[in-house]
Symmetry: C2
Subunit: 354 residues, 2 copies
């Protein structure tokens, strides 16, 4: 199982991935190598990376603090300065070893350092493997607003090795799984059904399911790289999901939700709205709600919470002229973009979820 | 006199420029318009812009502080936040009205806001017209190091109107003139001779000379957008020029030099080194030194100054593997890239200048 989609969008998974890594390095002829990690990936993933890659070159480890709260321009500034002080030049290579925060931020740092240096992403979380690894989006948050600053630029290679998942906490696996569920919804009921066995599957089967997710996202992104139509489907469940995630981070009486946990709620809400507006089949909605209910801890939302979440929608990156557009489904794999949704319907959706 | 090079690299000068501006706006169908200024361009250029463009849309003025010292990621963060708070979305347009600091920083802000919004550059300084307007480079400084963070991305249009030069202080004109001198050196003795009358020319002649500079730079950039060979010639005089400029800013006993003033010195040094290493004709070197001596205030450099400037070369963006590469000339319009220069020769060059 491995794949090489195209020269500037080379994504590799398990078998053959480390050979591809070596080949990428030998093509780049980089002047120096920097590896971006956070404390967790430094401890758990860096030794695995060094063993698997059999890296024969001198390298410098650059460490950033852990978590979404540090996905900021200020962290970028620290890293740019460190790269500069440690002699990084235009021919240097940055290897981003970590979850979505490390690959998103590291990709942005590389794409803008001295107007762009080479970078390789090695996603170590399920979320980063099935989502951040494809499509070249990178960037950082601005205050409470996610990914407000960034670019679309593909890494020189993406190396997926499911070995990294062995040390990933279960809650992180569950969070990443939400994007696989989304891929099932926007792609096919067949893939949705396949991934129901994800948590019981062996490593080979897990790799196969991850690779299918990568392929689904890749197909969408290739058809519509600038997010003018079909790529909007990747935002399924994210319009409200992002707002819920932001709200959980800024509201101190709440535990901050992981991205996938917020998206899982967003998926139920979007599917309820889809059933009301576009006739997404009710029995399938029940099935979606049941699967998510089985994996994700129930949250509750008061009227005040919902009002605040609706207010946050105003900052969604996909807005235009102040109007919030949703992507909705008429069935698995059958979408409509640019749907407007009344606040009343959003309240009903939260009632359904509650 | 006007020109439209290509769809994504549309540069217009004087006649026809404002019609092109209107056409660009009508093609973009932007959701909202933001105009980035500094206090000087707000006062002197914004009224001219509003009259010339006959802008019929609502717009929001965003003001940044003046000068290179504010070309920082922190200024970007303030502007990104202001854009976000004032409802800018992916369909918004940013118009950068100002000198190189405003267009460099504003271009970077636009290219990374929500992963990229449309932007139009309206250079109001001579330096920005003949240099920053072409080639799509944008970015900000990192501490003392110039343009360490940025991108290459062309604006949706560049509108050059020499009317803006009427309110430009003389010293700013002289600073921008250094890039025209550089274009003469790297392009042809013919253009070098033509621009000798620049400060006595009428507005139409000035516009013609500026347009020729734009065309010279454009030809180079088109041939080599990623700066692999010929584009390096645009760096002529800049390797030492940038280091001198940085040094003048970080050394409190010196008056900070304008970019062009530092580049003018860098040009003399590079031309001396060219004559020593590559046989650039001595009598032409004398001519170059004489012209620059006539327009630019003499600076003096002690041994300590020169040592510090050489140390700063280590941070040049064009380095690779710690080696500083110069572009040098065998004659007007005839270059060699990737030349290494000993520190001894750099000392000799400063002696020649002193």
């Amino acid at each position: 199982m491995n794949g090489n989609f195209s020269k500037k969008d080379a994504i590799y998974c398990n078998n053959g991935a480390w050979e591809a890594f070596k080949k990428t390095l030998s093509n780049l002829q980089e002047s120096s190598v920097f590896i971006l990690v956070d404390p967790n990936t430094k401890k758990h993933c860096l030794p695995v990376f060094l063993e698997k890659s059999n890296l024969q070159k001198a390298y410098t480890v650059v460490e950033m603090p852990h978590g979404e709260v540090n996905k900021t321009i200020s962290t970028c500034e620290t890293i740019w300065t460190e790269l500069s002080n440690k002699g990084a030049d235009r021919g240097s290579l940055l290897i981003n070893l970590g979850g979505g925060v490390v690959t998103d931020l590291g990709g942005f740092v590389a794409a803008t350092f001295k107007r762009g240096i080479a970078f390789i992403n090695i996603p170590t979380s399920l979320l980063a493997m099935v989502d951040a690894s494809v499509g070249g989006k990178n960037g950082v948050d601005l205050g409470m607003l996610k990914n407000q600053v960034g670019l679309i630029q593909n890494p020189d290679a993406v190396i997926i090795d499911t070995t990294f998942l062995r040390t990933l906490p279960k809650k992180e696996l569950v969070s990443g799984y939400a994007e696989m569920l989304k891929h099932g919804l926007i792609h096919s009921e067949k893939y949705w059904n396949e991934i129901q066995s994800f948590f019981e599957a062996d490593e080979e089967e897990v790799a196969k399911l991850i690779w299918e997710s990568v392929c689904i996202k890749k197909e969408v992104v290739d058809e519509d790289p600038r997010e003018e139509h079909r790529r909007k489907t990747l935002n399924y469940g994210h319009t409200l999901g992002h707002a819920i995630e932001s709200y959980s981070h800024q509201n101190s009486i709440r535990t901050p939700l992981l991205h996938g946990d917020a998206v899982a709620i967003g998926i139920i809400l979007a599917t309820y709205i889809s059933s009301e507006l576009l006739g997404f089949p009710k029995e399938k909605l029940e099935k979606v709600a049941e699967v998510i209910g089985a994996h994700y801890k129930k949250q509750s939302f008061s009227k005040t919470d919902i009002e605040a979440i609706i207010d946050l929608l105003a900052f969604d990156k996909k807005n235009r002229n102040g109007i919030v557009y949703f992507v909705l489904l008429t069935d698995f794999g059958d979408y409509k973009t640019n749907q407007t949704v009344t606040n009343e319907l959003i309240y009903s959706a939260f009632n359904y979820y509650n």
